[in-house]
């Protein structure tokens, strides 16, 4: 239990996937302009990451390891993630067309989102149990969502702020991301596994 709790805390705050490990920077900068899409993207990532880790962990433990096929790890994981993203896309289009259009290109981009791949690979590499792996995935995706939503909140305010022309747009976004990352450095060393 204690390990699960520390996994949650560590991967949301201490080793935040976006702000500490720098995974998934593309959607972090791309979808954080509006709070609505940021939340939608977060939900999609939480779902995909958790499902992907669950499936990849099972595949890895019960198919790849017994057959000595662990070198197929990355290929299989890519397959799993790509299929899952497809599934989410089909599902969202039916359930919430607004969210589907809001996410636009970024939904297919989760396929190539390194954060999802990283979670799946790290879960196996750290030799987590199934429960730990799933909790790890949820925590990592929550960390991603946290970073994304904080960023969206800041950017919505920056949109209204009066600032020099040179800083507008990407420039101020990148500076904000840097400062945010430094702020999260404050959690460093609070907990280790």
């Amino acid at each position: 239990m204690e390990k699960l709790l520390s996994i949650i805390f560590i991967y949301i705050f201490v080793e935040n996937f976006v702000l500490h490990r720098f995974f998934g920077i593309c959607p972090f900068l791309g979808v954080s302009r509006k709070m609505e899409t940021a939340i939608g993207m977060s939900m999609a990532v939480i779902f995909v990451m958790t499902m992907a880790t669950l499936v990849t962990w099972l595949l890895h433990t019960f198919v790849l390891v017994p057959n000595n096929l662990t070198y197929l790890q990355i290929v299989t994981f890519i397959l799993v993630i790509a299929s899952l993203v497809q599934l989410v896309e089909i599902f969202l289009r039916k359930i919430s067309p607004t969210l589907y259009q809001g996410l636009g290109i970024f939904l297919p981009l989760i396929t190539t989102n390194c954060a999802v791949m990283a979670v799946a690979l790290l879960a196996v590499r750290q030799e987590f149990s199934l429960l730990e792996a799933v909790v790890f995935a949820i925590a990592a995706s929550l960390g991603f969502s946290l970073a994304l939503i904080i960023m969206a909140g800041i950017r919505e305010r920056l949109e209204l702020a009066n600032m020099p022309d040179v800083l507008q747009g990407s420039a101020v976004t990148l500076i904000t991301a840097g400062i945010l990352s430094m702020a999260f450095l404050g959690f460093q060393g609070m907990l280790t596994l």
């Binding site: 197929l72 299989t76 299929s83 599934l87 599902f91 289009r93 039916k94």
Partner: protein, 286 residues
């Protein structure tokens, strides 16, 4: 042996995922109206946005859902409207597109400049530089933003420094209206009936006559002359209501600066040059 295992494992995993996805696609299939696709095929695909929707696809969707009239596609014209009506099985009233009309006749011979502008050939840029180089702050700068914005080659810049609209080519898309930094272009119903006060200046009469020979000086002579009471003042500018105008032309003679023109004969660049030349002769002889 190893490679066979690898291929078999990956193949099986891929196959099962594929099957799963195929089932999911069936279960969660979204039914789209085939008419949307049909209407999209008919539309000009210029994605000009004149209909008020984000591109032709969105417009097609709105038309099929009954949110808007097929006549909303202005560049498509009558043919497109009729074809869409065929697809949807509805009746539409005929809709000829409006035409762009430039409300300024202050050409380079008749309207004075305040300073020599040597910057970018762009009306918006020139307009922002000390309020434009033209002495009249309402008049056409003549740098041709509207002509460049027109995707149908319906506007060209005349040698007299004013845009000339080809009514035949104008599809009424309204891109020039948005482009003009001085809002001189209006979309009017098609046809050549009626007269118009071709000026946009809201300055007082004295100030107008100082900077432009043909600007409306708000003397109200036309209002008194009009038997139809079709002319009203909008601030310091006379405006003719085309619905009431019966094309009698009484106002044209009464207008001291000659701002009013019949829609059938807007001043051409040749006329502008000729009148400028004759005016020069008069002033020389005098």
């Amino acid at each position: 042996m190893l490679i066979i295992y690898a291929i078999a494992a990956l193949g099986l995993i891929g196959l099962s995922f594929g099957l799963f996805l195929a089932i999911a696609a069936r279960v969660f299939a979204v039914e789209t109206d085939p008419r949307i696709e049909a209407v999209k095929e008919i539309l000009p695909a210029a994605n000009c946005g004149a209909c008020g929707y984000a591109g032709c696809a969105k417009f097609a969707e709105a038309v099929v859902n009954g949110d808007t009239d097929p006549g909303g596609c202005i560049p498509g014209g009558e043919d497109v409207v009729n074809e869409i009506a065929d697809v949807l099985g509805i009746e539409v009233s005929s809709t000829a597109p409006p035409v762009a009309t430039v409300f300024c006749v202050g050409d380079i011979y008749k309207a004075a400049d305040r300073f020599i502008y040597d910057g970018v050939e762009d009306c918006t840029v020139a307009d922002q530089m000390y309020g434009g180089f033209k002495a009249c702050t309402y008049g056409c700068l003549g740098l041709g933003n509207c002509a460049r914005a027109c995707p149908f080659d319906a506007i060209r810049m005349g040698t007299h420094g004013l845009p000339l609209v080809d009514n035949e080519k104008c599809t009424g898309c309204g891109l020039c209206v948005k482009e003009c930094p001085r809002n001189l272009i209006q979309m009017l119903p098609p046809g050549i009936e009626g007269h118009l006060v071709l000026c946009s200046s809201q300055d007082r009469g004295k100030a107008v006559s100082k900077v432009c020979e043909v600007g409306c000086i708000a003397c109200k002579a036309c209002i008194k002359a009009c038997p139809q009471e079709a002319i009203e003042m909008d601030g310091k500018l006379a405006v003719i209501d085309l619905e009431k105008c019966n094309d009698c032309g009484d106002c044209v003679e009464k207008c001291p600066p000659g701002t009013i023109h019949p829609r059938s004969a807007f001043p051409s660049e040749k006329e502008a040059k000729a009148s400028a030349a004759s005016a020069e002769k008069v002033s020389e002889s005098a």
